[in-house]
């Protein structure tokens, strides 16, 4: 599902952000990526979304070689990768329903499909009663669930989460992680970048630890070994 082979990403100055990363993630896995600030986690997410191109090495996601992908093929590739951010990135001028429908509109789904898929997705994330609420009226946990619904409404086989609990209190953080676990159980491959050691230690999933652009550990049922 995700293969990185000796991937290097250098910016114009300083040491490389990623320095020879190799990594395999199988279909249906749940993986935590942990590490301190500047370890290369964000660069890794950007490479997996093809927001950045690698300086060298090979990245294959959903059978697409991102080192060779043409610019015109990037939108289609991204439809296969859902993404959730720490700051939710909801559109403030649109309600919950419209925020999720937006993801379908921009990939040109029919109105009929949108009417069918959006309510189903909002029910899945337990927001069936909040269709007309605007982001400012939602709690952090609810806003993140809208963001997850938006990321999943196009049925991507991979979900990338960049610090999904970073802005949430412990109770909401756990609710979101349970939701992500449920999504993973339904077959979606989930990668979660996080600093939340409590969650990482409690969930006993695969944990990849990064430091200064390299993978320093990769454990099948690991714990959080770095503390900021």
């Amino acid at each position: 599902m995700i293969i990185l082979d000796d991937v290097v990403k250098s910016y114009s100055t300083g040491a490389p952000a990623l320095d020879g990363i190799s990594l395999h993630v199988e279909k249906g896995e749940f993986v935590f990526i942990v590490g301190d600030s500047g370890s290369g986690k964000s660069t890794l997410i950007k490479l997996l979304l093809r927001e950045l191109a690698p300086t060298s090495g090979k990245i294959i996601v959903n059978n697409t070689d991102l080192s060779k992908i043409k610019h015109s093929k990037i939108p289609k590739f991204r439809r296969g990768v859902g993404v959730v951010f720490q700051d939710f990135r909801l559109l403030p001028d649109r309600n919950v329903y419209e925020n999720v429908a937006f993801a379908q509109i921009v990939i040109q789904k029919s109105a009929k499909e949108i009417r069918r898929n959006v309510p189903a997705m909002l029910s899945m994330v337990n927001l069936a009663g909040k269709y007309t609420a605007f982001p400012r009226e939602l709690s952090g946990g609810e806003a993140q669930r809208v963001a997850i619904a938006r990321a999943l409404v196009n049925n991507p086989p991979i979900l990338l989460c960049d610090e999904p609990t970073g802005n949430l209190d412990p109770r909401n953080s756990w609710e979101i992680m349970k939701l992500l676990e449920e999504i993973n159980k339904n077959g979606t491959t989930v990668l979660v970048v996080t600093h939340n050691s409590e969650i990482v230690n409690a969930m006993q999933k695969r944990v990849i630890t990064m430091n200064r652009g390299v993978i320093v550990s990769d454990e099948r049922r690991g714990g959080y070994i770095y503390e900021d």
């Binding site: 990037i74 939108p75 991204r78 990135r89 559109l91 993801a103 040109q108 949108i114």
Partner: protein, 299 residues
């Protein structure tokens, strides 16, 4: 493109306009100025051309004959002239007709002084009307070479002057319109660039979700085209109402020149002006927004 996507694109295009009200207004105002000036110049030029055409149609070359020339020879000369490509129409004015016309125009109450005499006895003539005033010189040269013709009168000065003025107005207006055209494109470009900045977060989400370049860019191009369309439509409405009043005013103010100042009615002007101005407005919007979007939205 699906209807839902089209409607989304259209809605976002309108939303962009209202998000940047000040810039949108400035853009519409500039395009409106450009199209308004264009419409005014167009109305002036097309009326001028109309007047020139009418003036040219009235320009005639007159030929007079040698004293004592026979009627048969006059007829032969007439046939020769009719064969020329420069000639659209030829009229024979007999000596009596020339005298009658002179009496009516100039003598008034003194007409009886001359009794039955005709002082213009040897002044029969042909009035020759041309297809194009510019052909006048070659025809005059030919006429002067015909045996039996004593004098050739030509009067192209008025028409030539009108043509020159027409060209001058056309060049000046083209220059002004050109400058306004570039200013309009620049303003459209700025408005769209600001719209892109305001919607940066939304665009970034669209890109990550997998929207194509087309879907991301289309609302901004639509925005530019709508601004262009509105900017073109407003001055057309203004010109429609101003035109008739202006024509009436000029007619009243310069009554003495009424035979020369023959204006087209507003519908004759608008039949070409409306499509040209609307295409111009939409074109300015399209060009300005398309290139800005290409430059700022590498998806």
């Amino acid at each position: 493109m699906r209807i839902s996507t089209f409607l989304y694109t259209l809605k976002q295009g309108f939303k962009n306009i209202f998000r940047n009200k000040v810039f949108s207004l400035a853009t519409v105002a500039t395009i409106a100025s450009c199209v308004f000036l264009f419409s005014l110049f167009y109305a002036v030029i097309i009326n001028f051309q109309n007047m020139v055409m009418k003036a040219q149609a009235g320009v005639a070359v007159t030929v007079f004959f040698d004293e004592g020339i026979s009627d048969e020879r006059i007829q032969e000369i007439g046939d020769l002239i009719k064969e020329r490509v420069e000639v659209s129409n030829i009229e024979f004015i007999s000596a009596q007709e020339a005298w009658d016309s002179f009496k009516e125009d100039y003598l008034g109450e003194y007409v009886d002084t001359f009794g039955d005499d005709n002082p213009l006895e040897d002044c029969a003539s042909y009035e020759i009307y041309l297809n194009d005033v510019s052909m006048q010189d070659s025809l005059v040269k030919y006429l002067e070479g015909i045996d039996g013709i004593s004098k050739v009168n030509q009067s192209a000065v008025a028409a030539t002057m009108l043509s020159s003025m027409n060209s001058l107005i056309a060049y000046v207006s083209l220059g002004i319109i050109g400058i306004l055209f570039f200013v309009s494109i620049f303003l459209i470009s700025n408005t769209v660039a600001i719209g892109i900045t305001v919607r940066r977060a939304e665009i970034s989400i669209m890109k990550l979700i997998g929207a194509t370049d087309y879907v991301v860019r289309a609302p901004f191009v639509i925005e530019g085209m709508i601004l262009g369309l509105v900017g073109a439509a407003l001055p057309l409405v203004a010109v429609y109402f101003v035109y008739n009043r202006a024509v009436s005013y000029v007619r009243e103010r310069f009554e003495a020149l009424s035979s020369l100042l023959q204006f087209l009615n507003v519908h004759e002007v608008f039949v070409t002006l409306v499509p040209v101005a609307l295409i111009m407005g939409v074109g300015i919007g399209l060009i300005g927004s398309y290139f800005t979007v290409r430059k700022n939205l590498r998806v």
